[in-house]
């Protein structure tokens, strides 16, 4: 996953970057698998790697890449950027190390086979309102895109 992430930002060719992003997303799906969440991993592959990245590639391929290939990949402030990223990473690591006692020592018994059922029960039971709001948000986004792209309404 780290290699994929680094390749995304360092490649000149945006198509190569998109493919490295696909590798990163597949690695993330495997991390979900290691966290005993097979349903989330499967949905990640279907939607992210198989759907969203295809649309990314569409747009990248339809836009000429000659300009972006000739650009510099890392601008002049890369040292400051590295220091900032290291500071962020350091603060996250220290939060995890110092706050380790806050996490339960033996977490909830994670049963891999019930991931789909538990997710469905929570999503359509406890968090139903949030689910509906999220779908409404997607609907508004689709309507906005169609309105912007149509020639005549």
């Amino acid at each position: 996953m780290l290699i994929g992430g680094i390749l995304v930002i360092t490649r000149r060719n945006p198509v190569h970057s998109a493919l490295a992003l696909i590798v990163t997303l597949l690695a993330q799906a495997s991390i979900y698998l290691m966290l005993y969440a097979p349903f989330v991993a499967g949905v990640q592959i279907i939607l992210y790697a198989g759907g969203i990245m295809v649309l990314f590639l569409f747009v990248i391929m339809l836009v000429s890449i000659d300009c972006s290939i000739r650009e510099r990949q890392l601008n002049r402030q890369w040292l400051v950027g590295m220091i900032a990223a290291a500071a962020l990473g350091g603060s996250l690591i220290s939060a995890f190390v110092k706050g380790r006692n806050m996490f339960p020592e033996h977490a909830l018994p994670i049963v891999e086979s019930d991931n789909t059922q538990n997710l469905a029960t929570m999503l359509y039971g406890q968090y139903m309102f949030a689910f509906e709001i999220a779908s409404l948000l997607l609907l508004v986004a689709i309507i906005g895109a169609v309105v912007m792209a149509k020639k005549k309404i």
Binding site: G42, A49, G51, L57, F58, L62, T116
Partner: protein, 425 residues
């Protein structure tokens, strides 16, 4: 050495798939078997397609290469291997090289969860059907990469069209699949399953194949999936991407020789994969016809004769055609070859009559014969329907199949809820 033998034998007494039992050796054996079987199926499909299409068009098809063209696929494979391997000058080398690999990987990895029997799968994941849909959607990426890497206009347009078509029909496929999954939850505990083996066992427990459930809802869901799966694999009548390769170009224009054969292999494997999904979800997987209506030991025995009888039927057809061969000295080798092939088929048929073999292989036979029926349907569609124009194609995917899928999902859920309420009141 003793430990290894014990490791190998410990699986034989369990009744799980090798993946679930954690047995690496048998998992590898199953993987090799599936790979070999799939390759043989693709080769057979090549021959069958040309012969069946020819017979539908009142001509003979390949007749020269072997007896009745049986060695034609081998000749095709040799030709493809010996062809010059061209890479366009300005093409993106790495992506050009990796695109066929991605498509083949996606098409073959799907078969890890395909259930040939209750324990005859490489593994049985809890998210089996989700895994199959996800990995088969990765082949779209390979096609996009192939069109891009060729660095010429026609492949790019062909690849974009083909991938747009595949992504659109994935949505309709998803709706049909969800309707079928919903039907697995109509049991005592009220929880369904996403695992492929679990879906077939749900059909067995509920006593009817899901294609007949809540008639005609199951049938319409099956129909939506059947149309979407033909569009998903870029086959006729939705083969604008392929047919562009007959007319002008397609995403695999710049690929020659072995690279093209990888695309071809991946296409036929994807066809078999989505047919396996359809068979598992709607047609009862490995169950023999009428598992509940005609049950009992005598019916089991009668149905257990089917595998052997099928092979014997093929053998009889071979012998009949061998007798009908022209009586010319130049045809002697072909006649002998056909008769030998018939003898091999007859031997296999007789082998399948032994109860010990038959009881193990029966599930695989029923599953394979249902998938073979789907393959025949694929070829039939190619010979019958005219091609869809691209805008008609996209219109059908989004404006017809998607609302239909949504409606079927809502109907399935409501009818299932009504059934639960009425029965468990």
């Amino acid at each position: 050495m003793n430990q290894f033998v014990h490791y190998v034998q410990s699986y034989l007494s369990s009744n799980q798939t090798p993946g679930a039992a954690g047995n690496m050796f048998w998992a590898l054996v199953y993987i090799l078997l599936v790979f070999a079987g799939l390759s043989a199926a693709v080769i057979a499909m090549n021959w069958l397609e040309r012969k069946i299409l020819a017979h539908m068009q009142v001509r003979l098809g390949p007749m020269r290469v072997g007896p009745h063209g049986l060695l034609q696929p081998i000749a095709d494979a040799l030709k493809l291997l010996l062809k010059e391997d061209i890479m366009p000058a300005e093409a993106d080398g790495f992506i050009f090289w990796i695109a066929p690999l991605v498509v083949v990987l996606a098409a073959f990895t799907v078969f890890v969860v395909v259930p040939f029997g209750p324990t005859h799968a490489i593994t049985d994941m809890n998210i089996g059907i989700l895994f199959m849909l996800g990995v088969s959607s990765l082949s779209v990426l390979g096609i996009v990469m192939a069109g891009w890497a060729s660095n010429s206009h026609y492949p790019l347009i062909g690849a974009l069209r083909s991938s747009a078509q595949m992504v659109s029909y994935e949505v309709a496929m998803g709706f049909a699949v969800v309707s079928a999954i919903l039907m697995t939850s109509l049991n005592a505990t009220g929880t369904g399953t996403l695992s492929m083996i679990g879906i077939v066992q749900a059909q067995q427990a509920q006593g009817e194949w899901f294609i007949f459930k809540f008639f005609p809802i199951g049938l319409i869901a099956f129909f939506i999936f059947a149309v979407a799966m033909v569009a998903e694999t870029n086959r006729a009548p939705f083969d604008l991407a392929e047919a562009e390769s007959e007319l002008t170009a397609g995403f695999h224009t710049e690929y020659s020789g072995f690279r093209w054969s990888l695309f071809f292999l991946a296409e036929y494997s994807a066809m078999i994969a989505v047919s396996s999904i359809a068979v598992t979800l709607w047609l009862g997987g490995w169950l023999r016809p009428f598992p509940n209506a005609l049950h009992g030991a005598s019916w089991d025995m009668i149905f257990s004769f089917f595998p052997g009888a099928t092979f014997l039927l093929f053998a009889v057809a071979c012998f009949y055609n061998a007798v009908r061969m022209p009586k010319h000295p130049l045809f002697r080798i072909q006649t002998i070859g056909l008769a030998a092939f018939g003898a091999v088929l007859a031997a296999a048929g007789l082998l399948l009559f032994i109860p010990a073999v038959s009881s193990r292989v029966q599930d695989i036979f029923w599953f394979s014969s249902k998938v073979a029926a789907f393959m025949y349907l694929y070829i039939w569609y190619r010979g019958t329907f005219p091609r869809y124009r691209f805008d008609q194609l996209m219109q059908m995917g989004w404006k017809v199949l998607l609302p239909m899928g949504l409606g079927i999902l809502i109907l399935t859920a409501s009818v299932a809820l009504l059934q639960q309420r009425i029965w468990h009141q």
